[in-house]
């Protein structure tokens, strides 16, 4: 799975909220989800297909976080987004 590329599903809409969170709306189901600032930053990067490893290294470059923790965090978020159908393997 390390070479798998993840991308946003096209019919999702991200809306910035005033408290730093981002709302993600699944247009088809009309369910919405909220991402914190880090999650929103990762969502931005998923505009183009990304591997989990590339996202983890990018996260280390942006935030003060160890690579192992970044990998855990990215894996957890991608797994959650995939289960909810918000990202797809490209």
């Amino acid at each position: 799975m390390t070479d798998a590329h993840f991308a946003r599903r096209p019919d999702t809409i991200a809306t910035e909220l005033p408290d730093g969170e981002t709302a993600l709306l699944d247009l088809a189901s009309q369910r919405y989800y909220t991402l914190n600032g880090t999650g929103a930053w990762i969502w931005e990067r998923l505009a183009t297909p990304q591997t989990a490893e590339a996202l983890s290294h990018a996260l280390v470059g942006e935030y003060e976080v160890e690579l192992a923790a970044a990998r855990d965090g990215i894996a957890g978020l991608l797994d959650h987004l995939r289960r909810e159908g918000l990202v797809v393997l490209s």
Partner: protein, 350 residues
Amino acid sequence: MDSETPRSGAATRGFVCPPGRPALPLRVALDLGVAHVRVIADAWLAADVRRTAVAMGFASAPVASAPAQAGGLSVRLCRTDAHLPDVPPDAVLRLQAHDLARGYSTPGGTVLWTPGGRSLVAAASADVEVVAGASPAEVAWHLTVSLQLLLRPLGAYGLHAAALERGPAGVLLVGPSDVGKSTLAYALVRQGWGFVSDDSVLLHAEGRDGAVEAVAFRRRFGLDADDRFPEVAAHAVPQPAEAGKWSVDVAALYAGQARMQTAPRLLVFPEIADAAESRLGRLAPADAYGRLLAQVGTRRLDDAHTRAHHALLGRLLAQAPAVRLAAGRDVLDAPARVADLLSDALPALP
């Protein structure tokens, strides 16, 4: 674009006014604040369209004397005795079902479906076709929803809300039907608040000073036909879309308080409470977003304007904090208290 030639294309076939009709007798331009829309209708529907325009409070002028229309927007309505076909499944990109109405995104535009009517809303024009016997409420629904869809390319998006003004600050009362929005709004107008719109507003990105504005869409108030506000009876006509409701010309009652638009600085989500006194509670932005979204009739639409629409909702939430109002009996018994409660929740403006 008032040619009576039907449009072509699989997605539009069957959703056009029949060709060869004699002159369409109703030709007016509705002033919707952000644009004028030319409306033409055949003899069968002219009266229903006029009634809707009056009940909504759309200012209208004959087409010949109307100002230049932005984008040449037009709606054409006609009645047919023919069976209205369903939308071919292979033309449907997305379906939005709501009670008896449905909306389909298709390659040819948005198709609005009700049991007795179809609208095809293409880029700058809409054709509405209803069968004989369709109710005035159905005609009113097709006309008002078509108008809202036509205004999306101009950056104006419909929201189920009443818009008021307290001093320089706009206040939106947002929520579904039957939570007392109109009653609360009218009670506040009686307390001296300015009013913009009842029940529906157009959110517009290009307000003064870069603010999101709420532009009047329904300038007359929809109030229950009862004796709670006895003064309104002399200024009311029956609602075409809702039995037992009046459409009240509030501008005639409170001329100095009418506004065309306002920049919202507070979002209020009212709920009826079985309590003597109303109470306010702050809403987190994510909660307010969900509640706001639920009152966007076109929330499932996925077209070229969808992302701009949602960005606008985000800007509105940044501009106006949100509160939940558990509206008690003081809305009618002590409206000054409710007015003070809401005034105190308004953020200080620079």
